[in-house]
């Protein structure tokens, strides 16, 4: 029996190894992993990594405002005299937090609704769920998120709520599509014939088959949610200053283009950096699950 257990463990590592092999085959995936990890590390350890952590809070030093990039301030300073690099590092914090909050709300909701809708697609419950989801998808997410945010007081919290409100249907749709096709697979029939409960079939038989797709989408969505959050902030409906939010920093700094380009361009690059990282990572995860 112990030999068997050892074998089991071995097969498990094989499984992971295979995924890792598929993943690491493309150097782009590894770059993506590195970028994503670097942003996460910067976000988590911002107070230790940022050269001037106090610049993320209430700080002004007008005497040193708008200094171009230099050795003291790699990314220069902004109109308050704050270190742009430090604020950008803190910016990752807010961006990733936004992604984390939104996705942790949206993924379970969307997934469960999608499973139910797909599993009961012929019944009214499935139809109603999909009809409602359709309504939220009938408009580009940014437009609806903008209008909902505009109806609320602009704040990071409201932005997260608005984005979450827009986002769940994408998971519902994904799960709906997967569930509707997987539920016609013979292994689901077999489980039904045996008498397994609908709950078991949805969560133990069907859901594992959607795991890869969900994981891929979640990773890619980290980038998109950050983008959407940044877009909201850019218009002025997202996180509010002095929060070092990347979108807000870009928008605020845009006033000083082109003379003090570093105030907006470095945070803008930072946004692109995160999105790039999670995009590459997402594609890698997709390869890992599909390859």
């Amino acid at each position: 029996m112990s030999a068997m257990l050892a074998l089991k463990e071995w097969l498990k590592t094989i499984e992971i190894k295979k995924k890792w092999y598929n993943f690491s085959r493309s150097p782009l995936s590894l770059i993506g992993l590195a970028i994503s990890l670097s942003t996460i590390i910067m976000a988590v350890f911002a107070p230790w990594i940022a050269p001037y952590p106090q610049h993320a809070g209430f700080f002004t030093d007008f005497a040193h405002a708008k200094q171009p990039p230099s050795w003291q301030h790699w990314f220069g300073t902004d109109e308050f005299g704050r270190d742009v690099l430090s604020r950008t590092i803190f910016g990752f914090r807010y961006s990733l937090m936004m992604a984390a909050v939104v996705l942790s709300l949206v993924v379970p909701t969307g997934v469960i609704l999608g499973l139910i809708a797909g599993y009961y697609r012929e019944r009214w419950i499935g139809k109603v769920i999909m009809r409602i989801a359709d309504i939220f998808i009938a408009v580009p997410p940014l437009v609806l998120a903008l209008s909902v945010c505009s109806l609320l007081t602009p704040s990071a919290f409201h932005a997260m709520m608005a984005v979450s409100l827009m986002w769940w249907p994408w998971y519902t749709r994904l799960l709906y599509n997967i569930t509707s096709s997987v539920k016609e697979e013979y292994f689901v029939y077999a489980a039904k014939v045996t008498g397994a409960s609908s709950f078991h079939i949805m969560f133990k038989e069907i859901f594992p088959n959607a795991m890869g797709a969900v994981l891929t989408k979640v990773t890619l969505d980290v980038g998109w949610v950050i983008l959407l959050g940044a877009s909201l902030s850019f218009v002025g409906l997202g996180a509010q200053p002095p929060t070092p939010d990347l979108g807000t920093m870009v928008a605020d700094g845009a006033k000083f283009l082109p003379d003090y380009w570093w105030i907006s361009m470095f945070p803008a690059l930072a946004i692109s950096y995160v999105i790039l990282g999670f995009n590459l990572l997402g594609d890698g995860i997709k390869d890992a699950f599909e390859g």
Binding site: Y21, N22, R25, G291
Partner: protein, 322 residues
Amino acid sequence: MSKEVLLEIKNLHVGYKTHMGVSHVLNGVNLTVHKGERVGVIGESGSGKTTTMKSILRILPSNAIIKKGEIFYKGKNVLEMKEDELLNLRRKKISMIFQDPTSALNPLFKVGQIMLDIIKYSYKLEDEEAKEMALKALKEAALPDPERVFDSYPFQLSGGMRQRVCIALALIGDRELIIADEPTTNLDVTIKAQVLNLLTSLVREKNVGWIFVSQALGAVRENVDRVYVMYAGNIIEWGPSRKVFSNPLHPYTQKLLECVPKLTGKEFSKGIRGRIPNYFKPPSGCRFHPRCDYVLDECKKSVPEAVEVEHEHFVACNLYRR
């Protein structure tokens, strides 16, 4: 035999590059087709039949690597042919019927569009003439209402009709060799019989060379002059059809024939143990040795040479050496 040799495959080694490494699929395939001869190739799924056939026309997938070997068509090596020679070969000399008619026909084009393209590039004809030619071929393939078929998308046709369309394609012009790669696998029993009857009668009528690849041993037995048995990228036995089927020599061939259920309902075998080898690390020596009941020591070491056991009946097995 003094018959003119049409096609000769010599010691063909083909592999595939995949993310798991290189698979060594064909392991020295030798195959000869004479003019007007009907040759069968049998073997389990994955034994490399399609790979061999595609090599002949050089239409292997892009990840395939031809490692060694020659394919002579009327004495010219196909693998060294120039672009225009190759196109000429494909356009005028050899045609192929694919395994799965559904995936072989581009779903976004009407049957007629595909046929016209093929005819136009092969024969430089005007639309009118080309269409006439296409309709003639469709009629020959026993398709009722060829005009309608010509104007249909593949999905609008049944599986049997699709395969007939593929046969019609293969019949355009006067070919010297028709390769039929499991032309009936995905069809219903009754349709299978129909398609096979059609194909055999056409081949007979036109007296062209024919390679008939199939897993349906019965169908092969009934319709070919000579048969090649393929196992894991090797031709392990070949000879006149009657001889091979009535007196199989190789342990694999013997087992394979036993496995086929009989209409007479006699007890049939327990199958062949094990499965077809992994091509990334194929067994040394005779690739069948891990599954063979009569395995000898030398089987593990070297690939057995072919021996002519009876007239024109060859087998590559150590049991028959000396």
